[in-house]
Amino acid sequence: MNDEHKIIQQVYAAKEDMEEADRLIGAYMPFIRAETAKFLRRPPIEGHDDELSIAMIAFHEAIRGYSRTRGAFLKYAAMLIRSRLIDYQRSERRHQETVSLDTPAGEDDTPLGDTLADGKDESEELLIREATRAEIEELSRQMQEFGVSLTDVAENCPRQQRTLLACRKALWYAKEHPELLEELLQTKRLPVARLSAGSGTERKTLERHRKYMVALLLIYTNGYEIIRGHLTQVMKGVAV
């Protein structure tokens, strides 16, 4: 009974704090592994079986979606893990007709992927990935100055398309007025009033998604060309 109370307290703490959620996932890894093994009917191999990663994200979802009215947490988590694994298995079945690049292509068991010319330069790709990683690390460091982490941004990201569009309008306005980005970097504060007045986006919307707006505006300051290059769709359909 006390254990049950303890885990519920931990779950409620993990809902608010992502580090706490990571700790809880770490503490309940044997449970997650056991549920995955039950589904696979064999022990999962860490780093190899995607099912274990699916089970972990399902456990994370269980933390987010749990409330006391749902009964015992572990039963709820086990149910969620199982249903996510079933969904994953179904989606994987759809790709079964696709031939894997690892399929032996010839008599000498050479993988099919090795026989195809992909036109990509692997070393160049590795360099781009390293450069991207460097940009992301720099962005994370800069975001820390604002007291914002990437996980916070993921939590704070608008879910509805309408809200996302409103935030994009504010971003577009800031891009058109570089002095706003300068002000952001200098004051470490989001110029909500000016963004709202200039873009027509409601102040309440900007305040509610402040962390997300900080991340986007930082990306549109100098120095994040690769990430900006990835955001090909952001400015589409935005008109102030």
């Binding site: 992502m18 959620a21 990571d22 996932i25 770490g26 780093g47 995607d50 990663s53 699916i54 972990m56 994200i57 456990f59 994370h60 979802e61 987010r64 979606g65 994953y88 990935r129 390293e130 450069a131 991207t132 990683r133 992301i136 690390e137 994370s140 982490s149 990437l150 996980t151 941004v153 993921a154 990201c157 608008p158 879910r159 509805q160 996302l164 994009r168 971003l171 997300y212 991340a215 986007l216 990430i227 990835h230 955001l231 090909t232 769709q233 952001v234």
Partner: protein, 315 residues
């Protein structure tokens, strides 16, 4: 759509899609900076709008369930719940429970003959008149009802008008049903008030006569004194007379019985609660000569006397 891996945690990864959304997804052995195209995204909880829709649909379902329950309750009250009962007595006793529509919802034998009469018969869902006719036919077939017999219907209903309606319906129907076969008496009893109404039917004719007899309530019958010399109730004289036995070795030879009235030809009324013991013909027996013979002979004699008198049997 392509996603850029922004951050990796043991349980999840933070991805950035091309539209600028930061999403959490299962960390399928990703590395920061990698671009992936088919991630397993974390499912978000229901939004406020979805919660509102869920609440509205839940409320609608609850209201619909209440409405269905009300309809069900009304149907139950009208069709399935017993509203009134009819106790059919020929010699077999049968209890018919009726719903508000007058259809039979339960049949139960009140005595052994009643159970025998209902054996293999299913009257559930039929109208009370149909069931009554069918039960009377069965009673005739099984020899329970013959010429000159009596059928009594004791009707238990909370509604006086309904009692009248049922009583008239049953009387008319039974007499009509049997008019070509038997002459019988139909008795309708209001089980609430004890009021009795008798109708005698004759062959090939309509009901011949109707008589309304008011019968005292059962509680009054129970408290009525059975004899002047009672040892019970307020009329008790305090002398129990238990020692004045006419049986066994303590018998004094004096029976104290009065001679039976010569004119008492009519059977005693059972309903009055009188035991008829005072009409015994023990004076004419050889009881005094057999003082020492013990109880067996006495009982034989009394059996014979009973047979002669036949007071109860004639009833």
């Amino acid at each position: 759509m392509n996603y850029m891996v922004m951050e990796c945690h043991p349980g999840y990864a933070v991805l950035l899609d091309e539209e600028g959304r930061f999403r959490k997804a299962a960390n399928l052995h990703y590395e920061v900076g990698q671009t992936v195209c088919d991630p397993v995204l974390m499912r978000e909880g229901p939004s406020r709008q979805q919660k509102l829709i869920r609440w509205a649909s839940g409320s609608f379902a609850a209201v619909a369930a209440c409405f269905m329950m009300l309809i069900g309750l009304r149907y139950y009250q009208h069709n399935l719940a017993a509203y009134s009962s009819i106790y059919l007595t020929i010699n077999p006793e049968v209890q018919m429970d009726l719903n508000r529509q007058g259809d039979v919802i339960r049949l139960e034998g009140g005595n052994e003959d009643g159970r025998q009469l209902l054996e293999g018969y299913t009257g559930k869902g039929k109208d009370k008149i149909t069931v009554t006719d069918e039960l009377i036919d069965r009673a005739i077939e099984m020899g329970f009802l013959s010429e000159g017999g009596q059928i009594s219907f004791s009707i238990d209903t909370p509604d006086e008008a309904l009692f009248r309606e049922y009583g008239e319906e049953l009387t008319d129907e039974v007499l009509r049903h049997l008019q070509d076969r038997f002459t019988i008496t139909v008795e309708i009893v209001n089980s609430q008030t004890g009021e009795t109404e008798s109708t005698e039917g004759t062959q090939n004719s309509a009901p011949a006569s109707q008589e309304i007899i008011s019968v005292p309530a059962p509680s009054e019958q129970e408290t009525a004194p059975a004899d002047d010399d009672t040892d019970y109730g307020p009329a008790g004289d305090g002398v129990t007379d238990y020692g004045d036995s006419d049986y066994g070795p303590g018998s004094d030879g004096v029976t104290d019985y009065t001679a039976p009235a010569e004119t008492a030809e009519e059977p005693p009324e059972a309903d009055s609660g009188s035991s008829s013991y005072g009409e015994s013909s023990y004076d004419g027996s050889n009881y005094e000569d057999d003082d020492d013979d013990g109880g067996d002979d006495d009982s034989d004699d009394s059996d014979d006397d009973d047979g002669d008198d036949g007071g109860d049997d004639d009833d």
